[in-house]
Symmetry: none
Subunit: 211 residues, 4 copies
DNA sequence: CCGTAATCGAGACGGTACGTCCCGTCTTCGC
DNA sequence: GCGAAGACGGGACGTACCGTCTCGATTACGG
């Protein structure tokens, strides 16, 4: 992303004339606003410039494409997609079920679905650099999920040798996929998904059962 | 599909010159050919028309957009995406592992990845009608997988009350997602994915174990 | 005209289904109707076909172009453009003045102006065959005018050696030109036009004078 | 002309990149060049753009149609149509005869005929704004002719009360009409035309006679 | 009274040009 | 001396008609 040019974590002095932070933020905000009412394809650079009160040149100076702008919006949390918190009551199965029920409500709102699609389409624009960003997308960060699983692992509740990331994907990715296709899964489907994976993950005999 | 629209049940006389099946097929073939070397975004209707030796109007007469053409190509199997066969040796876990190893090799070829992306982007074009098609896409038909699971279910190997479709998604969707982002997962990740889900699916004590 | 192609003077048998005279006339009528509300450029063959309830092929079978249809409409009097009659009271100057006053009223109606333009544009389509038709167009037939002038010539009122056709053009063509540009000339302009030409035509001393 | 539209009397600051005069002229030149070898109908905006090395959008930004471009070419003298000079020897009749003999040679050249047709067809496109331009067209400027007539008027050679413009049209318009139909008139026709009008114009007894 | 030949309406076909939209780049001028 | 305004060359869009080409369904003769 163009914006990474000066993103040094050590906060160096920043040489040269600094970019206009007002314009920068105006572009991100305008893009967020527009994406709420239009798809990625319908979004145009000219519309962003006009909506942001910024010249096209300013956009092209800092981002190399529409996809880059959209990805920055998404990945820096500018779009403020609220994640459902993951509870931690000590009962892994119950926590995951609580979480997925929340996701069913939260993630399938129209704006979120639109945002997710824009993010995916932007990420698939063929640019090799953007693919990586797509994978890191905090939006569907299975991080929360993976973290909870790791907590259970540390508590000795899980079978040994399982890949936590793979397990998190087994639950998280199907959810994302339904989100992209706009078809919210049923509650029972979702619960079954969690149940199967959690069951397969846990040490036999340990933990609660769904039935 | 657009092409079937006029084959209506009322079966009226069909006046005028009939649709040219040659042109129809030429469009699908040309699209397939072009998608092998270009992304969905790079693909243009004019290029399809030119490559197919067909007029643009003929394309717009039968399909309402580029997305519709691409979806017909994909969903009618015109692109001939070869699925990895699902073995059925009686050992569910072993069969699924065999299958996923094959998928790692087959599905992550460049052309297949490109096709999958095109299919997804086409399906996400915002058109409500196409979303449904996207879900039915035989490309990532978890059908083969789901079928094998149902076979095991009939054999009484599975726990009761689990949702087969959800379980198939738990394995299949993560695979598709990696395919879209272009990052082939490791063998151990894949095997762990299968192991967790199959374990969670099977009646305790039944079947083989990975370790 | 295309319609004359099969009008062989030897009157051959002409096998097969004969030309539908109904269709022929429907085309001419439809064209006339459409030209009343649209310019030559706006007129399309498809619109004619549709308006006439005839297939495009039928038009192209009998006329080689839109221009040919329009010219046939015009030159066969299908459009029924009414000419102003030329009086013959014995007073050439007075007769011509009466005639031109009538023309100012009649010829500059919107429909007539539109028809004249269509005729000219159709005639100028570059086709060499149509040019000739343009010259013969009865619409602006100076014939009536020329005839009256010749009558005066026979009566010995005119100077000798003058070209009657040229004189008729001197009055008629400026009128047509104003018609084409849509700017109706003033009465005094028109009367002066007639006066100058008639004066120049008549034997000195003969006839009445305008002032 | 379209190009002068924004040079308004309010003379506002004119922000942004200014219009490229090079492109403007390139369009006019390309149009002139193309009109030398093709008719108005054959001329396409895309061909102009391509020939001028200019984008279609640039043409549509400054002219509202092909007709507008052609009219600007014609009316600003870009096509450099050479007018035959009008002599002034003191003998009106002789001068006019000299002039019309020159016109017979000059005006009926192929390129000039083509240009005149293009100008007329462009002017008749139905746009009310362009009609006025058509009338002012310097191409068939009877201005030269009218000027000479006015000179004679000032010299007291003409009858009083005649409309000079009408008289100029009586000679000029028939010439133009023959030009449009592509049928060059004979010398005697032309001379008779001049003779009749000049005779009708001149004070009785004044000036020379043709015979 | 049957078959051959040419017509008819309908409408799809390969094309060409249209006029619009947006891309990404490039001036100019005002702050 | 940046940056908004906006013109530029380019190129694809989706539409409109062009003139041609099947279709199946009518007519008329001529055998």
């Amino acid at each position: 992303m163009a914006s990474e040019a000066q993103r040094s974590d050590t906060a160096e002095p920043r040489r040269g004339r600094p970019r206009s932070e007002a314009s920068h933020q105006a572009v991100l905000d305008a893009t967020t606003r527009l994406l709420r009412v239009s798809s990625y394809e319908e979004l145009t650079v000219e519309a962003i410039a006009s909506e942001a009160g910024v010249s096209k040149q300013t956009i092209y100076r800092w981002w190399k494409s529409k996809a880059a702008v959209v990805l920055e919006v998404m990945l820096t949390g500018n779009a403020e997609i609220e994640l459902v918190p993951m509870p931690s009551t000590g009962d892994l199965r119950a926590d995951c079920l609580t979480w997925i029920r929340g996701m069913l409500v939260e993630a399938f709102r129209d704006t979120h679905v639109g945002m997710a699609r824009s993010l995916v389409v932007a990420g698939l624009q063929g640019d090799p650099g953007t693919e990586r960003l797509l994978q890191q997308a905090s939006m569907w960060d299975h991080g929360l999920l993976a973290e909870r699983l790791r907590e259970a692992e540390r508590a000795g509740e899980l079978r040994e040798g399982v890949d936590i990331a793979a397990a998190a994907s087994a639950i998280g990715d199907p959810l994302i996929f339904r989100m992209l296709t706009g078809s919210a899964p049923s509650l029972s489907w979702s619960e079954s998904l969690v149940d199967v994976v959690v069951t397969g993950l846990m040490r036999p005999g340990a933990g609660s059962s769904i039935n």
